[in-house]
Amino acid sequence: MLENKANPTISKSTGLPRKRFYRARAHSNPLSDSHFPIPISPCQVDYSLHYPQLFPSSDKIDGAKKIQFADVGCGFGGLLISLSTLFPETLMIGMELRDKVTEYVKERILALRVGNPGQYQNISVVRTNSMKYIPNYFEKGQLSKMFFLFPDPHFKEKNHRRRVISTHLLDEYAYCLGVGGIIYTITDVEELGEWMKACLESHPLFEALTKEELEVDPVVKLLTSATEEGQKVARNGGQTFQAVYRRVMPSL
């Protein structure tokens, strides 16, 4: 940590990375060819790189814990950090397409691990295009929660297929989620909120959570309070639209 004193990208008071040095474009084209490394299959995801304290060696142990929560488009990682202490036994990963933002989250997690020994060992981040490569990271039914918080709205009709929630992509998310797993979506754009709800509602492998179930789920509250985007919306007194659905068995 000593050399960090001279490093302006790390805040002197908190030891955390400063967001202003990780500015990035707000949008990234998910359709373009990716040139970052991608694991060939889920068994090649190196857990020892992501969770070094929990996985000291890169050798695979059968029956070892697997990632259960995926925050797709994790942005600056606010939700992951809140979830980390709420579910300390669960491995979770943030997936972000923008390189600089991923770097920031990586630094943030490392700094949190240093500042709070023993904590934040269960979260990590990876730069990837989840719309293209999600089956390369997770096996069938591996996940129990997936988050899509404040995704890019892609207003133009011609760009609707860049939206991270669509009927066809839900097929892949349903593959990664175990039966009973929950998908959380939220946005401050009414049109996108309706779109996401309509996609989930019409999908045969998803069913809406009831009002009572939403009220008792501690994660639902975090959707608005934990993320940077959610805080921004709350600050400006904006509205949010959420859709929370459960993965169900296909009816025959």
């Binding site: 359709l31 040139h35 060939i40 297929r161 066809h168 839900l170 097929d171």
Partner: protein, 432 residues
């Protein structure tokens, strides 16, 4: 189209060439060859060339055909390609009974085993389905609209295949991925239940086929890829059972004296019906490699290399029927600097019928032109002419190679070049 950054200024604008394709009727009643926009069919049973009947005026296809296929029962035939048209033909009358428009260029087609559905995949990764349940005989169908069935997110789908039991549809793409999806009773509502992903290839997947016998009716999936391997999969779990590095295993690298230059893509493969042999076409090989699949041990091994002597013949497409012949075509459309608008050469290998399990050593022989069923008449129809110039075929093989890598291999740019491309993006807003 506007979402895919086009190669501009860097590679000279090559005219896109398409490899020649071949398909044989399951009972070998007829053979079809597609070169460029031309579809040529020869009726082996009747011993005559077929003239296609298409009520739409003008040529049936206006741009390169990318996929042709017979239905499992041989009653239907489908052709599709860059002109965004899917044509469904009756093989009795060779009349086009239905033309379906696609939004994008079509890259692969498949027919369900019961002949009730035609599926086609476009270059944006969406697989569409058309139902044919009101098709009876030769009567023309009312115009059909395709329904989206599943999607590989914006990746060119290279191959589409139904499992032998018809329960699954398998799709392969250029992002190294093979997806196995449950084919439901009502596919028009979309396919939502993914059975597995077969992951392991490290380059684009070019072709798929099933090996199955009466003892193993479910069979196993085999796939060929740009990583120069053929892999064997269990589709219900998606697990990789065996990998065969075809080129090095078959000793092709040493014999050709190009030990350093490996990784010739596998361009096509097909399985011999009711057998365990797999014929594999490789981009640099004048001939084919025969693989043998041990279904109980779940392994692949090289059975032999059948080389074609006397001419430069690198097959671009393979097809078999139950008659024990392997049909091959080599050729290309729109070859530049050549008098012929399109080239095709058809060759046939015999000796597959008894060779299945008991005697893999059975002699496979490359038939001479006069030994091919249908003889000269067939070759004249399918090739366009009887004699072909040898030199042109080497150029054709080279053109096919370039076209395939342009289409399917990801472009790699250096850091500076990537920067330059970013700066010269044409979708950037110009600040006033």
């Amino acid at each position: 189209m506007e979402d895919i950054p086009m190669e501009e200024g860097e590679t000279n604008k090559d005219i896109e060439v398409a490899p020649a394709l071949i398909a044989v009727h399951p009972a070998q009643e007829s053979v079809a060859v597609a070169v460029g926009s031309e579809l040529r069919v020869f009726d082996i049973h009747g011993g005559s060339a077929v003239s296609l009947v298409d009520d739409s005026c003008g040529p049936s296809h206006k741009d390169s055909i990318r996929a042709i296929r017979y239905g499992a029962k041989g009653k239907l035939f489908v052709s599709a390609g860059d002109d965004k048209l899917v044509k469904i033909w009756s093989t009795e009358s060779w009349r086009c009974i239905c033309t379906v428009s696609s939004e994008k260029r079509v890259s692969a087609v498949a027919l369900s085993n019961d002949g009730l559905y035609v599926c086609f995949a476009d270059k944006f990764g969406v697989v569409w389905v058309v139902d044919l349940d009101d098709f009876d005989g030769n009567q023309a169908l009312v115009s059909k609209k395709a329904a989206p069935m599943l999607s590989h997110y914006c990746s060119i789908i290279t191959s589409l295949e139904f499992s032998p039991d018809g329960r699954f549809v398998v799709s392969a793409d250029r992002d190294f991925k093979i997806r196995v999806t449950v084919f439901p009773k009502k596919p028009l509502d979309g396919l939502h239940e993914i059975q597995s992903f077969c992951l392991g290839h490290t380059e684009f997947v070019s072709c798929l086929a099933f090996v199955y016998t009466s003892e193993y009716p479910q069979g196993f999936l085999v796939s060929g890829s740009g990583d120069s391997t053929v892999r064997l999969w269990d589709i219900s779990s998606g697990s990789l059972l065996d990998t065969c590095k075809v080129e090095s295993k078959a000793g092709l690298l040493e014999s050709n004296g190009r030990g350093e230059e490996c990784n010739s893509p596998v361009t096509n493969l097909c399985t011999i019906p009711d057998g365990t042999l797999i014929a594999v076409a490789i981009q640099s090989l004048q001939g084919i490699v025969l693989l043998s699949c041990d279904l109980s041990a779940r392994t692949l091994s090289i059975a032999k290399v059948v080389s074609i002597k006397g001419e430069a013949f690198i097959p671009t497409s393979l097809s078999t029927s139950s008659s024990g012949l392997l049909w091959m075509v080599a050729g290309v459309s729109n070859l530049r600097g050549c008098d012929h608008p399109s080239l095709a050469r058809v060759r046939v290998i015999s000796g597959f019928r008894e060779s299945s399990a008991c005697s893999p050593e059975h002699e496979q022989t490359v038939l001479g032109d006069n030994e091919i069923p249908g003889g000269d008449k067939l070759l004249e129809k399918l090739q366009g002419s009887l004699s072909v110039d040898e030199k042109v075929f080497l150029a054709a093989a080279e053109a096919v190679k370039t076209a395939m890598s342009n289409l399917l291999v990801k472009k790699q740019y250096s850091a500076e070049k990537r920067d330059l491309r970013k700066r010269t993006r044409n979708d950037r807003k110009i600040k006033q």
